[in-house]
Amino acid sequence: MTEPLVFELSSPGRVGVNLPECDVPEAELPKELLRDDLPLPEVSEVDLVRHYIHLSQLNWGVDVGFYPLGSCTMKYNPKVNEEAAKLPGFSRIHPYQDEETVQGALQLMYELQEFLKEISGFVGVSLQPAAGAHGEFAGILMMRAYHEERGDLKRTKVLIPDSAHGTNPASSAMSGYQVVEIKSDERGNVDLEELKAHCDETVVGLMLTNPSTLGLFEEHVLEVAEIIHDCGGLMFCDGANMNSLLGIAKPCEMGCDVMMFNLHKTFSTPHGGGGPGGGPVGASERLVKYLPGPIVVKEGDKYHLRMPEKSIGRVKSFYGNFAVCVKAYTYIRMLGAEGLRQVSEDAVLAANYILAKLKGVYPLPYDRICKHECVFSGRGIAEDIHTMDIVKRLMDYGFHPPTVYFPLIVPEAIMIEPTETESKERLDAFIEAMVQIAKEAKEQPDLLHEAPHTTPVRRLDEVRAARHPVLRWMPK
């Protein structure tokens, strides 16, 4: 099942939308500046709609079924969030309008800042960053600003545990720092001895994902923060896994100086096929004046946009992904404090349930209570069977594969994040499929090697795509 490209549906003279006639006298066009040709497709509205509907049917989304992608928090996205963001008073306002004319929008942003502060314990929040990695980058630049203002210029190393997302080292490098990898111990915590060995006056800070990408809570979090602070470093916390901490623990109270939130994960705004997201940053007393801006402040009963005192500046144009903020705001208001805690409890419950049920079926490298996700290995299930074979087979059973081959410290990793929005029946069906596949791996390995069998296309030749890149359509 494939769909032609929109260019292949094109015929000269067709239009997909009718435009108004020009109601003013025409001005003379500067001929020498005009383009000759514009090779865009020409399709009628009905063909256009069918094209995209067909393509949507080739896609898997949370609304289609279970999507247990580890570290991505693919929870159900409430429909009211979409309605809220589409309200004309939110979707049809210009970012440079006079503040007086956008008080409703500024109030929403202000209150969202306040909610995120309450959830995390931070003293200030900026909604500016557009995504998690963008928030990380802002956070590292804030750490840089802090050290620079103190004249502490010899700090060049950012410590990053070996379980971290790839964005952590990439964000550090973009901020001009060297990355030092810190090993995890046999329980999946940061190895304290190794951490201490690296802690000196050249340390900018530590980037800690807690719970980690192993789905494990950092048991020595307070000690880790103390070690870092004692050497003059700062604690950056990656908030990607915040879905397990709502009403459970506040990162700022655990020694974090700066953290980014992922509104598209924890606050369900949704993922959009890869974006847009929202990556607000929260900061402790130490770093709050360096937040990217502008942020919203309240003076009397009026809201204003202001640059924090020693802001690192803006990290994008305007004020952040406002429509995404509207959705996150709606989500928080719908759930309230008890609802948010229930979210985290149910998310952790579901992950531990899967862990308990699949333990013994798949190798479990870290056998302890997990948080929002559990990480198995696909190694040694059967001869010549790899994690990729296992998860491709899951598609035939009607499930999106978990995250695979990450974290890098688990060989053939299978990282399962069920979230709080899947019923027990759905979790049981998934567990049953995983058990069946483990059996098939031994009895009918080719079923796995050749999987998936039932999808719109089957395994694709990624080597060919990379060796001979075809990155756009060209007319024959």
């Binding site: 490209l5 020009c22 974006g275 990556g279 500046g313 305007f318 795509a465």
Partner: protein
């Protein structure tokens, strides 16, 4: 019980039993006791009907563009969004999907990105386009970093025209804070393109211009690329994609990297985001590009299909050696842009651009006829133009607002030497009646 949470208490009990713990609290025993289970002070939960009522009231305290005539642009534009676009991006198979890492069940997202890449190449005259950045400002900053990378870090000077959007230049400076890169060119905000050319030297990685520039003018680009390339540097051009329905694409005048704000292409104006960072370049630089790329291939049965490709540039493979830290991008905004461009097509986009051009010129001419108002220069322009005003622009805007008109951008905010000037924007959304109303209102507010 929240409608988002399907577990019944009986199911929760069964699951706890299966795990072998007595209570849910036991699952959090590894969290230090002194920080465990803090109180959250948040407003009480609401039903859907209640939150919608509250949000509607909050939103109605904003002056929206359905009820006000808007002549404000400056990087965020009020363009028409065809109904089909909303329906396409409203398909939840698209908007509830993740990044298409599993191509067998992500062909919808992958093919729409491939089509988007193709359309961006067509618009800009470039050979490769990526799947998107956060917005025009961050795309521009990443383009500058890429130019430095292409010089193998030997060139650390980035020349940026002061006529590039002020917030893009600020973002560029934030992005280069931790690097050895020197951003220059806009110290004197009145500097012209010819002056910038004289700054090119062997340390220059790139020269960045915006075309049409922040003031809406079409830059004098003939010979620009030659001068830049002669110095061994790259030419980066930031574009308004709507203008490319009508005007020569940067590929024709020698650009190496083209970036732009794609919000105009079917995305809501939404108080500044989410927007769409367009990023395209010449084929020879594709392995130095940031961001995701989709490529064509075949499956085991020989059927055409699409996959994420050239991923060794990216953070999840290369970590600190990646070309960028970008992961989440603006995929759904790119989907909107693809649907918009397909709906407009070859003739529609040109017509939108022409409508903008004619209406802006009509407005400019009418305003220039008013006593005390004058156009600041006679360079060709697209849909925005600078007017010198007889009264402080902020004062004029306040009075326009009373007549339900959102006036132009007060240039003094970013260009002190233009404190008495306003940047007006006119698009296909402005009717002649609205323009005439603006002109009348301007006449009234001035002595």
């Amino acid at each position: 019980m929240s409608s988002y949470l399907p577990h019944t208490d009986a199911h929760r009990r069964e699951m706890l039993d299966a795990i072998g713990v007595k209570s849910i609290e036991e699952l959090f025993a590894d969290i230090p006791e002194e920080v465990r289970f803090p109180e959250l002070k948040l407003p009480k939960p609401l039903s859907e009907a209640e939150i919608l009522r509250e949000l509607r009231e909050m939103s109605e305290r904003n002056a929206d563009l359905d009820h006000y005539a808007c002549f404000l642009g400056a990087g965020a534009y009020n363009h028409f969004v065809p109904s089909v676009v909303g329906h396409v991006i409203g398909r939840s198979e698209f908007y509830t999907a993740y990044t298409p890492y599993q191509p067998e069940i992500s062909q919808g997202t992958l093919q729409t990105i491939f089509e988007y890449q193709t359309m961006v190449c067509a618009l800009t005259g470039m050979e490769v386009a990526n799947a998107s950045h956060y917005d025009g400002a961050t795309a521009l900053a990443e383009a500058a970093l890429m130019a430095v990378r292409i010089s193998r870090e030997k060139r650390q000077k980035v020349i940026v025209s002061p006529a590039v959007h002020p917030e893009y230049r600020q973002t560029l400076r934030t992005y280069t804070r931790g690097t050895a890169i020197a951003v220059t060119g806009d110290e004197d905000l009145a500097r012209e393109l010819d002056d910038l050319k004289t700054m090119l030297d062997e340390d220059t990685a790139c020269l960045i211009v915006q075309n049409p520039n922040f003031f809406g003018q079409l830059e004098e680009v003939d010979g620009l690329a030659d001068a830049v390339h002669e110095a061994g540097a790259l030419l980066i051009v930031a574009v308004d994609p709507i203008s490319l329905g009508l005007f020569r694409p940067p590929g024709e005048y020698g650009a190496d990297i083209v970036v732009g704000e794609g919000q105009s292409l079917g995305n809501a104006i939404s108080f500044g985001g989410p927007y769409l960072g367009i990023f395209a370049c010449l084929d020879k630089y594709k392995r130095r590009m940031p961001g995701r790329l989709v490529g064509e291939t075949v499956d085991v049965e020989g059927r055409r299909g699409y996959v994420l490709t050239l991923t060794p540039r990216e953070q999840h493979i290369r970590r600190e050696k990646a070309t960028s830290n970008i992961c989440t991008n603006e995929a759904l905004c790119a989907l909107a842009a693809g649907a918009y461009l397909a709906a407009m097509g070859k003739t529609g986009l040109r017509k939108v651009a022409e409508l903008c051009y004619h209406k802006a010129h009509y407005a400019a001419q009418r305003i220039a006829e008013l006593p005390g108002f004058e156009l600041v220069d006679d360079k060709p322009f697209f849909k925005e133009f600078v007017v010198r005003c007889p009264k402080p622009p902020a004062e004029i805007n306040r009075q326009l607002l009373q007549q339900k008109i959102i006036g132009g951008y007060e240039l003094g905010k970013a260009y002190p030497h233009l404190a008495d000037c306003m940047l007006f924007c006119v698009t296909e959304m402005n009717t002649r009646e609205e323009i005439d109303r603006l002109v009348e209102a301007l006449q009234e507010v001035t002595p």
